[in-house]
Each structure stands twice: as structure tokens, then as C-alpha cells.
């Protein structure tokens, strides 16, 4: 049986940490995603997440802190992609080169790892109950850092992302902002991996924002919708996964995909 909600009231307290972390990640993913879409960097997100997975796997093997490892892997990939791939075309090929390398490295580390098998699988496809106190603190710190930084640079980063030529002429520090954004993106990916897993980070960092831009044109409504979509996907995914024997990720990805479909249908209906 897939679903069994009979012990739900006893299970729920076990995932309080996960729900808090899930909400924080939805906030981060929804906001960062708006810029991922604006800057056309969806594929780069995938590349960063594989390197982040490699970092996490290696620290798991060495007995270190998994969040720390995934942050290092993420930032490494973000900086490499940011520096070598200034243009979209170059960025895609560099991402495609890094991605299998990261995945391979991660799989190597995991196959050498002798510990609990669920830890291994979790890094790729996500986990809910596994979020412990120190992890919660680390992820919350990353989330707050990312959100506060984003809010401060929101307007110039928007200007630089969607109207690069004019922004540069007006003295907006477009190069520094793009480096800063890669760091923000790296941190957001590293934090997201802890819950949804490396393979499915896109469902948190791309799909909600991609859905939002289908149904709104307002620069104020789009980020709000994007965060709401991400929240519904993550929290809904966790609550559904709790009553089943399946991991969290299929639920999160299905809900976020469903939202995307609905948004496309709304867009199509409006245009008719």
C-alpha cells in the first residue's frame, strides 16, 4: 500500500524540523528561481547540484559535515560556471562537462561509503526524517543569508538580468552582481539538496518561477507566486510522503509539475 495515514498524528512531530526546513527552502527556491529564469540559467542549476552532490558524498565518506561538503561543491561549480561561462552558449557546455564529472565523483564516494544506505540514497533523491538539529541550523542560516542578500540587491540584479546593456550604461555593477548571484545560487542549491536531493533541485529552483512567469507579468506578483508555488510543492510533498513508504521527492516534483501544467493552461486560456 502506498498511503497509510493511520499514525499521522504520531508521525507529524517527527517531521517538524523537515517542515521548517522545507518552508525555508521554498522561500529561497522561489526567490532565487525568479533570477534563474531571468538569467536563463536553468541548466547551470543542474550542473551546480551535481557538484554539490559530489561534495556532500565525499564529506559523508570522510565522516565530515554533509551540508558543509555540499556548500563547497556548489560554490566550486558556481564559480567555475560563472567565470568560464559568461555567455549562455559557453555556460551550457561547461555545465555539461562538469555535470557527469560531479555525478561520477559522488557515486564513487558513495560506493566506498560503508554507513547507512538511506544516507546515500537521500543525497540523490531527498529525505525527510533525516533532518537533524545541526542540519536545521545550518540550512536556516544559509536560507536567511540568501534571502537577505537577495532582497538588498533585488532591483539592481533585476535590472542587470533583464536589461543588461542599459543597466551597465547606468553604472549598475553588472559583473560584481553576476558573481554575487552565482554564490547565492550555489548556497541555495547546497541547502536544497539536503531535502529534495541533487537530482530534483530543479523542481524547487526552476519550476515554481517558470510557472509564475506563465501567469503574471508583474515584477511584484511573480516572486510572490513563485514562493507560494514552491511552498505548496515542498510542504505538500512532505505531508504526502509522511503517509507513504516512498521518498519525498516524487511528491514534490509531481506537485510542482502539476502547478506548472495548470499555469500553462491558464496562460493558454487567457490568450484565446
Amino acid at each position: 500500500m502506498i498511503f497509510n495515514f493511520s499514525n499521522y498524528d504520531q508521525l507529524l512531530p517527527l517531521v517538524t524540523n523537515s517542515l521548517i526546513v522545507g518552508a525555508l527552502l521554498a522561500l529561497v527556491g522561489g526567490l532565487v528561481g525568479v533570477f534563474v529564469i531571468n538569467r536563463d540559467m536553468s541548466f547551470a542549476v543542474h550542473g551546480i547540484s551535481e557538484l554539490s552532490f559530489a561534495g556532500a558524498s565525499i564529506t559523508l565518506l570522510l565522516g565530515g559535515d554533509v551540508v558543509f561538503g555540499s556548500v563547497i561543491g556548489s560554490l566550486f561549480a558556481a564559480v567555475v560556471i560563472g567565470v568560464l561561462g559568461a555567455k549562455a552558449k559557453e555556460r551550457n557546455s561547461i555545465t555539461a562537462v562538469l555535470m557527469p564529472f560531479g555525478l561520477g565523483l559522488g557515486i564513487l564516494a558513495l560506493s566506498l561509503y560503508q554507513g547507512r544506505a538511506s544516507n546515500k540514497f537521500g543525497l540523490l533523491t531527498g529525505q525527510i526524517v533525516a533532518v537533524d538539529e545541526p542540519q536545521l541550523v545550518a540550512i536556516a542560516a544559509i536560507a536567511i543569508l540568501v534571502v537577505v542578500t537577495l532582497l538588498i540587491v533585488w532591483r539592481p540584479l533585476t535590472f542587470a538580468s533583464i536589461d543588461h546593456e542599459v543597466a551597465a550604461a547606468r553604472g549598475v555593477p553588472t559583473r560584481s552582481l553576476s558573481v554575487l548571484f552565482m554564490v547565492i545560487l550555489g548556497l541555495a542549491v547546497a541547502a536544497s539538496i539536503q531535502v529534495v536531493g541533487a537530482l530534483l533541485v530543479l523542481s524547487l529552483l526552476v519550476t515554481p518561477a517558470a510557472s509564475a512567469v506563465r501567469v503574471s507579468r508583474s515584477p511584484f506578483i511573480i516572486p510572490i507566486l513563485s514562493v507560494v508555488f514552491a511552498l505548496v510543492s515542498v510542504i505538500g510533498g512532505i505531508l504526502l510522503a509522511l503517509g507513504s513508504s516512498l521518498p519525498i521527492s516524487p511528491y514534490v516534483t509531481s506537485i510542482s509539475f502539476l502547478i506548472y501544467l495548470v499555469c500553462r493552461i491558464i496562460e493558454w486560456a487567457k490568450k484565446r
Binding site: 529564469i37 531571468n38 536563463d40 532582497l151 538588498i152 540587491v153 532591483r155 539592481p156 533585476t158 535590472f159 538580468s161 533583464i162 536589461d163 546593456e165 542599459v166 543597466a167 551597465a168 550604461a169 547606468r170 553604472g171 549598475v172 555593477p173 512567469v213 503574471s216 507579468r217 508583474s218 515584477p219 511573480i222
Partner: protein, 266 residues
């Protein structure tokens, strides 16, 4: 005369051993409207990039309001080409204007009364009240350029740089956008540097012409520069400047890369 808005002193730009312009001197006063002309590859857009501090000069200096230029400036308004934006970001016309006013600001900022008034003034001036909620990806080239001009003047800059703002527009639209830019720049006492491959749509409104060719340049009124004698001397090969019904056609000006046997404007 008051001190110039922009002064380019003995500026030389070399890219891979190719001299685009050599010892270029140009002083731009308030309210001046200057067309920058020349064949493809003659360094027209590069001059704008140099003024924006995006291309370092090989020699010489450029000053904006008597200060050495940096990378970009709040005192500069910029009008790019009228191409449709490649990205699908559903930004609206009014967002484009607001970015021109506050896009450089970090942190929280809520529009105050005066910025609101400024926005209302510009949206009226560019006749954009009805279009302001449309996504720019749904606008025609001419409609988009109206918002581009509004975006460039809304912050009341001292200098407006326009890089081929009329390309891809039809002739009526070209005239309308050029008129709008002229009117708005006058209202705010801004100088305009207008890069174009076709001087005809703006012929009546330019004060001076900067013509770049073969690493050299000529500056003067259109009547002084756009003559067979001056351009023949500049290019070093015979050039015919034909005036017909208020339009100017330059014949025989070779492109730097020899792609065209005739200059693009006709």
C-alpha cells in the same frame, strides 16, 4: 560657453592593432545633438562603449562633467537598438521606465511623490499610458523604442547615448522616435550622441556630425561634413555625396571589411 558635458581628448582606440580612431577630439555642450556616422566597423559603437568605460582607450582621455569617466554613469541615459528582447521575461513597459529611474538602487525603496510625478510626466510624454501594462515582448519595435526613450530621459541625464536606436523601424516610426528623443532631450537640457548608419531621419535635427572612417574623423555641421570633398579626403578614395529631395546618399564609401560596395544608407 559653459564647461562641456563631455570632452574627448586625443582619444585613440586600437583593437588588435587596428586603429578605429586616432587622436579624436570632441567637446559636447548641453543641448547639443550630434550624429555619429561611418561605415560598419568604423568604431561608432566602440566610441559609445569607450564613453561608458567599457572599452579602455589606447591613449587620451574622456571626461563627463569634467570628471574622468568610470564604468557607466547615473548621468548618462542609454537607448539601445530596437531589437526585440531575446529573453522571455515578461517585463512590462512601465517596469522598463521604473528601472530607468531606480534600477541602480540597492535595498528598499518606495516611490516618493516626486518620482511618481516624474513617471507620470514621462509616460504621458511618450504616449505610453495605454501600453504601460503590456509586456515589452508583445510591443512593436516602435512602441518599445518609445519606452526606451522614456527610460533614458526619466532620470534627467546630462548625456544620452543612443546606439542605432532606429534600426529595424520603418521610416515613419524612425522619424517619430527621433523627434521624441530630440524633444525629450531638449526638455531636460541633455546632450545626445546618436549613432546611426542612416542620417536621413535625423538630418533636420542634428547640430553637428562626427564622421568616422579609415581611423580618421571629421566633425562639423552636416553641410560641412557631408560633402563629396570632405568624405573623399577622409576616405582617400572618390566619394559622391548626392542630395536629393532633402535626403542624402553617400556613394562609393567602402566598408572597412569590404563587404559592401556602397554605404548602407540610401
Amino acid at each position: 560657453m559653459s564647461s562641456p558635458v563631455l570632452s574627448v581628448k586625443d582619444a585613440t582606440l586600437k583593437i588588435d592593432d587596428r586603429v578605429l580612431w586616432h587622436k579624436l577630439n570632441l567637446e559636447v555642450q548641453k543641448n547639443e545633438f550630434i550624429a555619429i556616422l561611418g561605415a560598419n566597423g568604423s568604431g561608432k559603437s566602440s566610441l559609445l562603449k569607450a564613453i561608458l568605460g567599457q572599452l579602455p582607450l589606447s591613449a587620451g582621455s574622456i571626461e563627463l562633467n569634467s570628471k574622468k569617466i568610470r564604468r557607466g554613469s547615473r548621468r548618462i541615459g542609454y537607448v539601445p537598438q530596437a531589437r526585440q528582447p531575446e529573453n522571455t521575461m515578461p517585463i512590462r513597459g512601465k517596469d522598463l521606465l521604473w528601472l530607468g529611474l531606480n534600477g541602480h538602487r540597492f535595498g528598499f525603496w518606495v516611490p516618493n511623490k516626486s518620482s511618481r510625478a516624474q513617471f507620470d510626466h514621462i509616460i504621458k510624454a511618450i504616449d505610453g499610458e495605454e501600453l504601460q501594462n503590456h509586456a515589452i515582448s508583445e510591443m512593436s519595435g516602435g512602441e518599445l523604442q518609445r519606452f526606451r526613450v522614456g527610460q533614458a530621459v526619466i532620470s534627467e541625464p546630462d548625456l544620452i547615448l543612443a546606439d542605432e536606436p532606429l534600426s529595424a523601424l520603418d521610416y515613419n516610426q524612425q522619424a517619430a522616435i527621433a523627434e521624441l528623443l530630440k524633444r525629450e532631450s531638449r526638455e531636460h537640457n541633455a546632450a545626445v550622441l546618436f549613432v546611426t548608419h542612416d542620417v536621413n531621419p535625423i538630418l533636420d535635427m542634428v547640430d553637428r556630425v562626427l564622421y568616422l572612417a579609415e581611423g580618421q574623423f571629421r566633425i562639423g555641421t552636416p553641410d560641412e561634413v557631408l560633402t563629396s570633398e570632405t568624405l573623399t579626403e577622409l576616405y582617400g578614395t572618390p566619394i559622391d555625396v548626392v542630395r536629393n529631395q532633402g535626403r542624402i546618399v553617400v556613394l562609393g564609401a567602402h566598408d572597412d571589411h569590404d563587404h559592401h560596395h556602397e554605404e548602407e544608407w540610401s
